[in-house]
Symmetry: C2
Subunit: 340 residues, 2 copies
Amino acid sequence: MGVPGQPMVNMADVAERAGVGMATVSRALSGAYGVSEATRRRVSEIAHEMGYVVHPEASKLARGATGRVAVLIPQASRWFFGAVVEGIERELRRAGMDVLLYQVPDADARHGFFRDLPTRRKVDAVIVVGMPVDDTEQQALEALRVHVVSVSGRHTTFPFVRIDDVEASRQAAAHLLALGHRRIGMIEAVPPSIPEWRAEIDRSEGFRAALARAGIPLDPALTVRIPWDSEAAALAMGKLLSAPEPPTAVFVHSDEMALAAIRTVRRAGLRVPEDVSVIGIDDHPLAALTDLTTIAQPAALQGATAALMTLALIAGTPVDERVTVPTMLVPRATTAPLPR
Amino acid sequence: MGVPGQPMVNMADVAERAGVGMATVSRALSGAYGVSEATRRRVSEIAHEMGYVVHPEASKLARGATGRVAVLIPQASRWFFGAVVEGIERELRRAGMDVLLYQVPDADARHGFFRDLPTRRKVDAVIVVGMPVDDTEQQALEALRVHVVSVSGRHTTFPFVRIDDVEASRQAAAHLLALGHRRIGMIEAVPPSIPEWRAEIDRSEGFRAALARAGIPLDPALTVRIPWDSEAAALAMGKLLSAPEPPTAVFVHSDEMALAAIRTVRRAGLRVPEDVSVIGIDDHPLAALTDLTTIAQPAALQGATAALMTLALIAGTPVDERVTVPTMLVPRATTAPLPR
């Protein structure tokens, strides 16, 4: 900011006082790679003491035109989106970039964001989490030369990080089959605003394919399709328990919905896992605390990977643009062998 | 952005085409209050069609110097912080402001943020969630004329939104006392990096005062002090269950830690609430799904209130700078009357 009444300090002054080159000052203050933490700290302290203000243009090249990345999520209070943002923010800030956070809960809000983007032009890239981007939106982004990376989706035309949802639900089905279950139910969830969204369709397909391969015919009475909502999952479990021949095990599309389903089982006077086994997807932090068996997906890692991908795109360096991170079974206390 | 080869479009062009005044165009594009949604949408579409780009300076007055607010949270994946951010982002964006999100997990990271702030000067305000701001940091903010609002803290020198932690723990104690419990334990948690942090101290004091008023002498064997961590809470419950005379009810400083404590009770072959009643604080979304009795605090409301306070400070309009939002008992299935 400069001390009032004193001449402005420039980068050369800071470099001289710190005994380093101007490039090092620039990299240290922009948080770019290739500067030791000790040097970064010392340069930063000297710059601060001298009242030196980085001119925004000075560090444009290293950090893109704006130094900012927009992150679009449906809702900040939901664990998965928060965990992805945790990974994104950590990696982007390490590289000296800032995160602008936007909640776009539905398609209208998403259209609004992309409609306003050209009149603002304030980010170098957009990371889109847990939602699709339609063709019109994508063309607008390309025209603006704003990079786009998708987390938790699958897009053939721009870079993505995701899990393999078909494989995740195969793992869930395989666990229940290995425990001897044959009447296996599924509570399948679809976000109401985006019925075409792949992830949930893949979760249903992976489950059905695994059962088919095990020679188990599909019983339509054992699948309940709901919007992505915990209370809906609680009701869905009630529907499954009301079937003439209820399932002995149930696969639910997320941990939060699985916990809601378990509440229904307990309220019905039945026991988990003795009467019904339940498995979710996520490894939500509360899954460990509630002893919930689940298929774990690394949420913060998906965010961190998307951030590194974004930095590479901004820098123009080559990067693997289609990353699938692994999922795995975490067996806990809500699944058990089928009683003989 | 302007179409290549064509002259730049200015705000007057957009106003003429839309048949409104320039002030309306400015307010519509900046998202300021006082413009109908229909007008906002039409002006925005016309501006987009004409390739009009808002000059960043044009809307400075309505939205502060930068149009951005920094939000500091310890960790994006934890429910409370995510829910506060949800409320903040919703209200700030409605007013046309953007949220820059920063995770500062400990005191070092916080010092780093405030050290770098002067050399960046890119926000009009900072909302600090779930952490203290020390005197040095506060003086730096005042020198920069950056507004500061605190959520989930108590500060005498700058505006805050919070719950009354003494009252919240009194409510928890009162519920257990009303159920007839007399041997009441507490798992009290302290964030290791900020031992002076008021909230947790208040939660302990409110609980102790309520027991004292009920004429119940304090038994040191019934309180376990831990860092703010679920696994630590799980171990703490084991310690309470190992006491020569274990508690019949336990108050835990958060829902997540309460669920961890319940897991320990169940693993010990005991039942909740028949053998031990457990109550938390928060009303985490999973509290409803796990039937956990708790003292609810409105997290998103605290965020929204902080955002509105921030907007008033930027605009220079009067605002209540000390807001305490209410907490309330949500009785569910983890607390029950003391068996006779």
